[in-house]
């Protein structure tokens, strides 16, 4: 499908709104097990996308995703800037101008591999990958796919609570990272739920 300008703009605006609305929550999650900057960093990045929403939405989908990725790399900082930036830059390369569900799934699969490489991380290490990978695994041909993926993301973020961090700053805490939701998993599930809403969830 070709995504029209209004849909692209609404996606950017709503993703920015959800990150801004949850910035304090993301920060407190990150204060528990990281360096406490995830909320403020993500908010800064997504506010810069919001400020550019009209220009971004006017671009073809791959160009828009590339611009979003570059902007997140430059504005978010921390470790999440390059990780989310890499996710969007990889999607931009693979998705094509008018993706069907299968194209989108394949692009998402490549993007997850790119995030793994950037973070030198694997599934099961209490990171954003522990939301992204289950969502990919749940991505099938069912009716009501968007709602299914949204719910999968929510449950997967919850499932990071008992995990022990192996990558990132949280890994310094060892067993003490157990019992807290991973902030990157939370921000990923928020974004996936927000995007899914526009596709029928």
């Amino acid at each position: 499908m070709v995504m029209d300008v209004a849909l692209k703009k609404a996606l950017i605006e709503d993703c920015a709104k959800v990150i801004t609305a949850h910035a304090d929550e993301l920060t407190s999650l990150d204060q528990a097990i990281g360096d406490g900057d995830h909320g403020v960093n993500m908010k800064r990045g997504f506010e810069s996308l919001l400020a550019d929403a009209d220009a971004l939405a006017a671009r073809p989908l791959p160009d828009m995703l590339k611009a979003i990725g570059t902007q997140l790399v430059m504005k978010v900082g921390g470790a999440s800037g390059p990780l989310y930036g890499t996710l969007f830059l990889s999607l931009a390369k693979e998705i094509g101008e008018a993706p069907n569900t299968e194209n989108a799934r394949a692009a998402f699969a490549s993007a997850i591999e790119a995030v793994k490489a950037r973070g030198k991380s694997e599934v099961g290490q209490k990171t954003m990958l522990d939301v992204l990978a289950p969502v990919l695994a749940a991505w099938d041909n069912r009716a009501g796919l968007a709602a299914h993926l949204s719910e999968t993301a929510r449950q997967a973020a919850d499932a990071t609570i008992p995990m022990k961090a192996i990558r990132g700053r949280a890994s310094f805490l060892g067993d003490r990272s157990i019992g807290h939701m991973d902030p990157g998993a939370r921000s990923s599930s928020l974004l996936i739920a927000t995007i899914a809403k526009h596709f029928g969830a």
């Binding site: 900057d37 960093n41 430059m74 504005k75 900082g77 921390g78 800037g81 390059p82 973070g119 700053r169």
Partner: protein, 129 residues
């Protein structure tokens, strides 16, 4: 051929600046040297744009060796390298070494005119194998 340049990337501008001061005092001005630390708002962190600028300031045709501190500094430096002109990318390396000692040792090696791979190798001999 010019000497290899050294770039220091820390989460803290003070750490980066202090490490650079030590390099200047112990090695002198024979190597191009740049440092960056902190995020775009002056807090602790690392910033891809600033890292790209630091690599540019320390640029040498012999290449640039980058010393980093904690994880995000490495991730952001890798991202910065990928966003730099492709013809330069292969002449930029990240040294897996302690940031202060690594910067001094790498700069010492570079000041004698050693090529980039030797500079990197010498710095990395400091890391536990």
């Amino acid at each position: 051929m010019a000497n290899v340049g050294i770039v220091i990337v820390s989460h803290s501008e003070k750490v980066a600046e202090g490490a650079a001061d030590m390099v200047r005092q112990m090695v002198g001005d024979a190597v191009p040297l740049a440092f960056t630390g902190g995020n775009s708002e002056g807090g602790l962190g690392t910033d891809v744009g600033r890292i790209m600028e630091a690599i540019d300031r320390a640029w040498s045709d012999a290449g640039v060796a980058v010393l980093v501190d904690l994880g995000g500094a490495e991730t952001n430096t890798e991202m910065a390298i990928e966003m730099i002109d492709e013809t330069k990318q292969q002449r930029i390396v990240i040294c897996n070494a302690p940031i202060v000692e690594g910067a001094v040792i790498a700069a010492t090696e570079a000041s004698g005119g050693s090529p980039l791979d030797i500079v990197k190798q010498t710095a990395e001999e400091l890391s536990p194998q």
